[in-house]
C-alpha cells in the first residue's frame, strides 16, 4: 500500500519590506571580517552612516582603518566594536586609506582632490596635499620609509609625497585615470593601473619600465604576492591575470563570473579573495601540495564494478527490475510515523530548528493538532522544556503568518499548566512576558482599527468612483483567558 506521507511544510512568505537588489548590494554600510575558512563573517563593523571603502589592516593586524562615502575616516580596534578614532576633514568620499610604515600615521585620499596625513595618537590632521586635480581613488604607503607614500588620481597622474616636505616629490603620467597603485617592497618600483594598462615605473629614475596591456577592459585592482615574484591584476573583463615580475609575462589567469572590483592575497599566498560587481566575495584557497600516498591502504572496487550493467540493453524476454528508491524521511517525520509525538515536538523545538526554520516547527504543531494529540505532546514537560516552548511562542506569536496555529497552542499550554502556575519563577516570567506581548498586540490591533475607521471616513467623504477599499485587516482575537491568567 502507499507509503508514509511526510508532513507538508508550508512556506509562508514573509510580509513587510521588499528586498530589492539595490538594498542587497549597496545598503551594506558594513565591514565584514572573514576567517580563513569561514563562510559567514566572524566579525562585523557597522558604525557607518554610508558606504565604507578600503578597509585596511595595519601591518601587525591589530588596527583597521576605513574610509567612507560621507568623508569620514574611522579607525577600529579589531577586538572592539566602536571606532577608536574618527578623522573628520574630508568633504567628500574617502576611497583610499593606508597606514604608514611607522604604524602611527594614516594616509587618506578623497574625492575632494586632497590627500591628508593623520596622526593616530592625537587624531589630528598633520598635512594636506592639494596637488591632484581630480578624484584620488588609490594610494599606497611605502613599507620601508615611514614618510613616503604614493597616490593615484583620476587626473591620470601618480604622485609620490614625502611627509617631511609638504609637496610631491615625484609625479608620473599614467595616461588614463589611475585605478590602482602599488609599491614594490623594495620601494624601487611602482606599479600603476588605469584604463587597460598596467605600467611599471622605476621610482629612482621616474621613468616607465614596462607597459602591460593584457586586459581588454579597465584594470581595477593590483596585488603583489608575498614573495614579490608574482604580480596580480584584476579587471572589469572578469579576469585576474598573474604576471611574473622578472619577465612581466602572463603566467596564469583566473576567470570569474562578474567584473572584478577588488583583489587581495592572504599571507603566504594561500588564499585569493576577489570582490565582484554582483556583490559576491569569492575566496579561493590554494591546493595544499601534500604528496599523495604511493600505496592506497584499501583497494576500492574498480570503476567497472560500478558501471557494470549500466549500459546493458534489455533483451526481449528480460524483465527489468529497478532497485526501489529509498525515501528519505526527516527525523521529525520518522518520529511522527512511529507516533512518538512528544519526541517529534522536542525535535522541532531544538534551537537550530526554531531559529532557522520556524515554519517547520509551526507545521509540526499544526500536524499534531490535526492528529488531535497536541495537548498530549505539550503535557508533562518540566521547567526547562516548557520554557523552551514558551520561548518559541514569545518569539513567533505576533507574526501574522504563524498566529492562528500558535494561539491555539498557547491556549492549550495555559489550560494544561494553569494548576501548577507559581511553582517556577522562570516559567512565570515567561508567562508574564507572553501576557505583555498579547496586550501589546491587542493595543496595536486597536490602533489599526482606529486608523482604518478614520480612513473609511475619509473614503466615504470622497465621492470617487472606485470606493471599494481593499484594505484588509486581520483582527486577531485573543481569548480573555489569556488576559486573566497568572
Amino acid at each position: 500500500m502507499a507509503g508514509y506521507k511526510p508532513v507538508a511544510i508550508q512556506t509562508y512568505p514573509i510580509l513587510g519590506e521588499k528586498i530589492t537588489q539595490d538594498t542587497l548590494y549597496w545598503n551594506n554600510y558594513k565591514i565584514h571580517i572573514y576567517g580563513r575558512y569561514s563562510q559567514e563573517p566572524i566579525k562585523t563593523f557597522s558604525r557607518f552612516k554610508d558606504t565604507a571603502y578600503c578597509a585596511t589592516f595595519r601591518q601587525d593586524g591589530r588596527l583597521l582603518v576605513a574610509g567612507s562615502e560621507d568623508g569620514g575616516v574611522q579607525l577600529f580596534d579589531i577586538s572592539g566594536r566602536a571606532p577608536l578614532r574618527q578623522f573628520e576633514g574630508h568633504t567628500k568620499a574617502v576611497h583610499t586609506v593606508d597606514f604608514t610604515a611607522d604604524k602611527y600615521h594614516v594616509v587618506s585620499g578623497a574625492d575632494d582632490y586632497t590627500v591628508k596625513l593623520w596622526d593616530i595618537p592625537n587624531s589630528k590632521e598633520i598635512l594636506t596635499f592639494k596637488e591632484h586635480s581630480d578624484y584620488v581613488r588609490c594610494g599606497c604607503a611605502s613599507k620601508l620609509n615611514p614618510d613616503l607614500f604614493v597616490t593615484g588620481s583620476y587626473d591620470h597622474t601618480v604622485k609620490m609625497f614625502d611627509a617631511r616636505t609638504n609637496k610631491s616629490v615625484l609625479s608620473v603620467e599614467h595616461g588614463q585615470p589611475v585605478e590602482s597603485v602599488l609599491l614594490f617592497p623594495s620601494g624601487g618600483l611602482l606599479v600603476s593601473s588605469g584604463g587597460r594598462y598596467v605600467k611599471v615605473w622605476d621610482m629612482l629614475k621616474g621613468q616607465l619600465l614596462v607597459s602591460l596591456k593584457n586586459h581588454h577592459k579597465t584594470v581595477t585592482c593590483l596585488c603583489l604576492s608575498s614573495s614579490g615574484q608574482r604580480l596580480l591584476s584584476g579587471s572589469l573583463d572578469r579576469k585576474v591575470k598573474v604576471y611574473s615580475t622578472t619577465s612581466y609575462k602572463v603566467v596564469h589567469s583566473f576567470d570569474y563570473a562578474a567584473s572584478i572590483l577588488s583583489l587581495a592575497l592572504a599571507h603566504e599566498d594561500e588564499t585569493i579573495v576577489v570582490g565582484m560587481t554582483n556583490g559576491i566575495l569569492s575566496v579561493k584557497h590554494r591546493k595544499s601540495e601534500t604528496k599523495k600516498d604511493p600505496l592506497p591502504r584499501r583497494r576500492r572496487p574498480a570503476y567497472r564494478t560500478f558501471i557494470k550493467g549500466k549500459n546493458y540493453m534489455k533483451q526481449r524476454d528480460d524483465i527489468l527490475i529497478n532497485r526501489p528508491t529509498k525515501k528519505h524521511l526527516e527525523l521529525y517525520d520518522r518520529d511522527l510515523k512511529n507516533f512518538r509525538i512528544s519526541k517529534a515536538l522536542d525535535r522541532v523545538l531544538e534551537p537550530s530548528c526554531v531559529i532557522k526554520t520556524p515554519e517547520v516547527t509551526v507545521s509540526i504543531i499544526k500536524e499534531l493538532n490535526r492528529r488531535g494529540v497536541l495537548a498530549n505532546a505539550l503535557a508533562g514537560r518540566d521547567e526547562k522544556e516548557i520554557s523552551r516552548v514558551l520561548n518559541f511562542l514569545i518569539r513567533n506569536l505576533s507574526q501574522p503568518r504563524f498566529a492562528p496555529v500558535l494561539i491555539n497552542a498557547a491556549e492549550i499550554i495555559i489550560d494544561i499548566y494553569l494548576p501548577v502556575i507559581g511553582q517556577s519563577p522562570v516559567v512565570d516570567k515567561k508567562f508574564i512576558l507572553l501576557q505583555g506581548l498579547v496586550e501589546k498586540e491587542i493595543d496595536y490591533q486597536r490602533e489599526l482599527l482606529e486608523t482604518l475607521g478614520m480612513m473609511d471616513m475619509l473614503f466615504a467623504t470622497m465621492t470617487r468612483q472606485e470606493s471599494s477599499s481593499l484594505l484588509e485587516h486581520t483582527s486577531v482575537e485573543f481569548p480573555d483567558k489569556k488576559m486573566t491568567e497568572s
Partner: protein
C-alpha cells in the same frame, strides 16, 4: 425502430462490495463477494470481474462454498431463498425457498444436507440461528421448510457467529455474552464478561468472534480494542481467557489462518495485524490499508487473505503480508461534498473518494479508474478527529486544469482553507500540482468555476465565498532563470454590498459571469470585470444558477430557497418566466439546450426536463426516488442513441445520473438492468482445481511421472490383449471347414464387426476402471499433501505415527489393487 419502453430509474453499479465477508474459491483463483442483489466473482490475479451471479430479488446477505463440491456456491438473501450456483459457468443450479428473511449463511463440512442461517422470528431485534435441511430433489425450485433451532438471542451480523473445531461447536456473541453450543452434547454454555457491570470496562462488549479450526479455542474481539482467547469453555467453571491488546479502537473482524497458527485482526486503524502463535509479542503488521477494515477472510488453500474496507474496497493479501490486488468499487464511505463531475478526458465520473482523494469512476465498466490524492497528507483514522475535507472541485479548459478546495474547521473562528490547482500532464497521464493557495478567502468557498474559453485564451477561474467576495484567478507566467513555469494569481476581487457570494457561473462562450449574492444575481463582463446588471426576485437566497446553452444562451436560470425557479432574459434584462419548484439539483446538458431539475416534495423527488425558452417541460417523471436527491450530472453517451418520441429525446446524447442521500447511484434508462450489465458468459478455465503449491511441484510431478510409467507398462501389456481365440465369430471362421462356409462377402462384415465389437467391449471395460484409479490417486495425492503440510507444522504431534501407518496401509491397498488388475489382465490374456 423497436418499440420504445418507458423510461425508468435503474441502479447502475457502484453497489457495496464490503457488505459481507468475501469468500475465496478452493483454488484461491476467484473471490466472491456480495454486491447488492448480485454475487460478483472476481479473479484474484487480475482483479477482473469474471461473473455476476444474478437471480436474487433482494439484498444478498451471505455466501458460502458448498463443502461437498467446491465448484458450487450457496447464497442467501433477504428474499427468503438460498440459491446454489455453479460459479465457473455462472449458472443457477437450484433454489431453496425458506420463506424467512435470511440474514446470514453458514455451511459445515460434516453436515452434508443442511446449512445454517440467521433469521428473526417474532420481534425485530431477536435473531435465531437455525439449521435448514436442504431436501434432495431434481427440480429447480425446492421448498426447504425443515428448520431446526440451534441458538437464540444472537447478533444479526455474521461476524458474531463462528463454527469451530471442524463443526463441533458454534460460538455466538452479543453485547457482553458469549454463548457456545455443542452439537454432540446438545448443550449451550453462556459466558458473561466478569467486568461488564464495571463502569471502567463499559466499553468491552463483544464485536466479533472467530474459532480455531483445529483446537478448542475461541477468539473474540471487543469494543475497547482487546482480543480475548477463550479456552476450556466446555466447562462453565474452569474456562480461561488470555488478552491480546494492540488495537486502540474496536476490533472490527477476526480470522484464524487455515492451520490456526496465526490470528488476523483489523479495525479502524487501517492496519492488518497478524498474531503468530497467539502470543502478544509475535505480531506482524500491514499498515496503511487506506480505510477501516470491515471484514477479513482467509482462502481455504491458506495462501491468500483478503480484507474488505469501509471505502468499498477488497484488498487481496499474500500469506507474507504483501498486498497483491485491490478490487475497488465506487467509494461511498463518506459524504459527497464535491458533487458529481465528468472528467472531460476520460468521461469518468469524478467525486469524493477515499479520505482526501478524488476518485475517477468509469460508469461503463463499473469500476474505479484511479484515485487522485489531493490532500497529500498522512491519514490518521481516529474517532472524533476532524479531518481535512475536500469540499470543492472543478474541471476546466478541456480537462487540462483541475481546481480543488480543501478545508478543516475545528472551531468557529479557526478555518483552514487551501485551494490547489492541478495541471494535466500528458507525459504521465495524470494531474500534477501546479499552484497551492492557502487561505484564498477568509470564509468558506461556496462555488468555483472555470471559464470554458477557447484554447488560445488565458484560463480563468472564479471562486465565490461567504466572506462576500468573489475572486478571479488567472494563469500567469511564473518563469525564472531556472525553469519555465506557469502559476495562478488573483486578478480581480469583486463584491456586492457585502452580501455573501453564494454561486458563480460563466456563460457558455465565457463572455459573461453571473455571481449570486444571496438574493441578488449580478452579471459581470468577463473582459473588463464591470458590473453589467443585477437581477433580484426577492424569493430567498439563490441556491442554483446556470446559463442556458446553444440556442438558449440568452437565458439565465436561478433556483431559490423559497422554491421559485426563475428564468431571466439577458437581452431584455427582464424576467422571462418563473415557476414554483423546490429545486434540489439543476444541471444543464452539455450537448443540448435541455436542463434537468430535480425538485423535492414531501412524497419524493420529481424530475423535470425543460428548455429555458419554453416554460412547458419536455419530460416529467414523478417520484424518481423516495429519498432526497443530492447531486446529479449529465453524462455524454459514447454512441448517441435514437429515440423518436419527444419524451425520450432528451436521452439521445447524454444520460442523467443522480446520487441520493443514501449514496445510491441511479440513472434513467429504457433498458432493464439485466440488459445493461451484459453478463460476461465466458467459460472459466478449470484446471485440476487445486492450487499448484510448491509441494505439488515437488511431489505431484514425481507422482505423475511414476503414474505415467505405470500406465506405460500397463499399456504394453494391454497391447497383447486383443487376442482372437476367444471371439466366437473368429473361432467359427477359422475352425469351420472352408467348404461349409458361406461366401466370403457374406462373412466379411460379420467378421469385421466381431473384431470391432470385441475391441469396444474391451475398452469399455477397461476405461472406467482407469478413471476410477486415477481419481483415487488424485484424491490420495491431495490427502497426502494436506497431511504432509500438517505434519510439517505440527511436528510433535502424537498422531503422526498412526497417520503414517494409516497411509502405508492405504498405499499398500492401492498397490494390491494394481496387482490385482495386472493379474486379472494376465489371466485374461492366458
Amino acid at each position: 425502430m423497436v418499440e420504445e419502453e418507458s423510461i425508468r430509474v435503474v441502479h447502475c453499479g457502484g453497489s457495496e462490495l464490503n457488505f459481507r465477508r468475501a469468500v475465496f474459491s478452493a483454488d484461491s483463483k476467484y473471490i466472491f463477494c456480495v454486491s447488492g442483489d448480485f454475487v460478483k466473482v472476481y479473479s484474484t490475479a487480475t482483479e477482473e470481474c469474471v461473473h455476476i451471479l444474478q437471480g436474487h430479488r433482494n439484498l444478498v446477505t451471505g455466501i458460502q462454498l458448498n463443502p461437498n463440491n467446491h465448484l458450487q456456491l450457496y447464497s442467501c438473501s433477504f428474499d427468503g431463498t438460498i440459491k446454489l450456483w455453479d460459479y465457473l459457468d455462472g449458472i443457477l443450479i437450484k433454489t431453496f425457498i425458506v420463506g424467512h428473511k435470511l440474514h446470514a449463511l453458514f455451511t459445515l463440512a460434516h453436515a452434508e444436507d443442511s446449512v445454517f442461517v440467521t433469521i428473526n422470528k417474532e420481534k425485530p431485534d431477536i435473531f435465531q440461528l437455525v439449521s435448514v435441511k436442504l431436501p434432495k430433489s431434481s427440480s429447480q425450485e425446492v421448498e426447504a421448510k425443515e428448520l431446526s433451532f440451534v441458538l437464540d438471542y444472537i447478533n444479526q451480523s455474521p461476524k458474531c457467529i463462528a463454527f469451530g473445531n471442524e463443526g463441533e461447536y458454534v460460538a455466538a456473541v452479543r453485547d457482553f455474552y458469549l454463548s457456545v453450543y455443542f452439537f454432540k452434547k446438545k448443550t449451550t454454555s453462556r459466558f458473561t464478561l466478569s467486568s461488564s457491570r464495571n463502569k471502567k470496562h463499559a466499553k468491552n462488549s463483544f464485536t466479533c468472534v472467530a474459532c480455531h479450526p483445529k483446537e478448542d479455542c475461541i477468539a473474540s474481539g471487543h469494543m475497547d480494542g482487546k482480543i480475548r482467547l477463550w479456552r476450556n469453555f466446555d466447562d462453565d467453571k474452569k474456562y480461561t481467557y488470555t488478552c491480546l491488546h494492540w488495537h486502540h479502537d474496536m476490533v472490527m473482524d477476526l480470522a484464524f489462518s487455515v492451520t490456526g497458527t496465526s490470528l488476523l485482526s483489523g479495525g479502524r486503524e487501517c492496519v492488518l495485524v497478524e498474531w503468530r502463535d497467539a502470543a502478544e509479542k509475535n505480531k506482524e503488521f500491514l499498515p496503511r490499508l487506506g480505510s477501516t477494515i470491515e471484514h477479513i477472510s482467509v482462502s481455504p488453500a491458506g495462501d491468500l487473505f483478503c480484507t474488505s474496507h469501509s471505502d468499498n474496497k477488497i484488498v487481496v493479501i499474500h500469506r507474507n503480508l504483501d498486498a497483491s490486488a485491490v478490487i475497488q468499487g465506487l467509494v461511498k464511505d463518506r459524504s459527497i461534498f464535491t458533487g458529481m463531475m465528468i472528467d472531460p478526458r476520460t468521461k469518468a465520473l469524478v467525486l469524493n473518494g477515499k479520505p482526501g482523494h478524488l476518485q475517477f469512476y468509469s460508469l461503463q465498466s463499473d469500476k474505479q479508474l484511479y484515485n487522485l490524492d489531493i490532500i497529500q497528507q498522512e491519514y490518521i483514522n481516529d474517532y472524533g478527529l476532524i479531518q481535512i475535507e475536500l469540499t470543492k472541485a472543478a474541471f476546466g479548459c478541456y480537462g487540462n486544469w483541475l481546481a480543488t478546495v480543501e478545508q478543516r474547521q475545528e472551531k468557529e473562528t479557526e478555518l483552514e482553507l487551501q485551494m490547489k490547482l492541478w495541471m494535466y500532464n500528458k507525459k504521465t497521464q495524470g494531474f500534477v500540482l501546479n499552484t497551492k493557495i492557502s487561505m484564498p478567502h477568509d470564509d468558506h468557498i461556496t462555488a468555483l468555476c472555470f471559464r470554458n474559453a477557447e484554447k488560445s485564451e488565458n484560463p480563468t477561474l472564479v471562486t465565490a465565498s461567504k466572506d462576500g467576495y468573489f475572486k478571479v484567478w488567472i494563469l500567469t507566467d511564473d518563469s525564472d532563470i531556472y525553469k519555465k513555469a506557469v502559476g495562478w494569481t488573483c486578478d480581480f476581487v469583486g463584491s456586492y454590498h457585502k452580501y455573501q457570494a453564494t454561486n458563480c457561473c460563466f456563460s457558455e462562450d465565457g463572455s459573461l459571469l453571473a455571481v449570486s449574492f444571496e438574493e441578488i444575481v449580478t452579471i459581470w463582463d468577463s473582459e473588463t470585470w464591470e458590473l453589467k446588471c443585477t437581477f433580484c426576485q426577492r424569493a430567498g437566497k439563490i441556491r442554483h444558477l446556470c446559463f442556458g446553452r446553444l440556442t438558449c444562451s440568452k437565458y439565465l436560470l436561478g433556483g431559490t430557497e423559497d422554491g421559485i425557479l426563475c428564468c431571466w432574459n439577458l437581452l431584455s434584462c427582464a424576467l422571462e418566466w418563473s415557476a414554483k419548484l423546490n429545486i434540489r439539483v439543476m444541471e444543464s446538458d452539455p450537448y443540448s439546450e435541455n436542463i434537468a431539475a430535480v425538485s423535492q416534495s414531501s412524497e419524493g423527488s420529481d424530475l423535470f426536463v425543460f428548455k429555458p425558452s419554453e416554460p412547458r417541460p419536455l419530460y416529467i417523471q414523478k417520484n424518481i426516488s423516495r429519498e432526497e436527491v443530492q447531486w446529479g450530472v449529465f453524462v455524454p453517451r459514447d454512441v448517441p442513441e435514437l429515440f423518436n418520441s419527444e419524451a425520450h429525446q432528451w436521452l439521445n446524447r447524454s444520460q442523467f445520473y443522480f446520487l441520493t442521500k443514501s449514496q445510491s447511484l441511479l440513472t434513467f434508462s429504457t433498458k432493464s438492468p439485466e440488459e445493461k450489465l451484459t453478463p460476461t458468459s465466458k467459460q472459466l478455465l478449470t484446471e485440476e482445481s487445486l492450487p499448484t503449491t510448491p509441494f505439488y511441484f515437488i511431489l505431484g510431478k514425481h507422482r505423475q511421472q511414476q503414474d505415467e510409467k505405470l500406465n506405460e507398462t500397463l499399456e504394453n501389456e494391454l497391447v497383447q490383449l486383443p487376442l482372437t481365440e476367444n471371439i466366437p465369430a473368429v473361432n467359427e471362421l477359422l475352425h469351420t471347414p472352408a467348404h461349409v462356409l458361406p461366401s466370403a462377402s457374406f462373412l466379411c462384415s460379420m467378421f469385421i464387426n466381431s473384431l470391432l465389437l470385441s475391441k469396444e467391449t474391451k475398452s469399455a471395460e477397461e476405461i472406467p476402471d482407469d478413471i476410477d484409479m486415477e481419481e483415487e490417486k488424485e484424491s490420495d495425492d491431495s490427502g497426502e499433501e494436506n497431511d504432509f503440510t500438517e505434519k510439517a507444522q505440527v511436528t510433535n504431534d502424537t498422531g503422526l505415527e498412526e497417520d503414517i501407518l494409516h497411509q502405508l496401509s492405504k498405499s499398500e491397498e492401492k498397490e494390491l489393487r494394481k496387482l490385482r488388475k495386472v493379474d486379472y489382465s494376465w489371466i485374461a490374456a492366458l
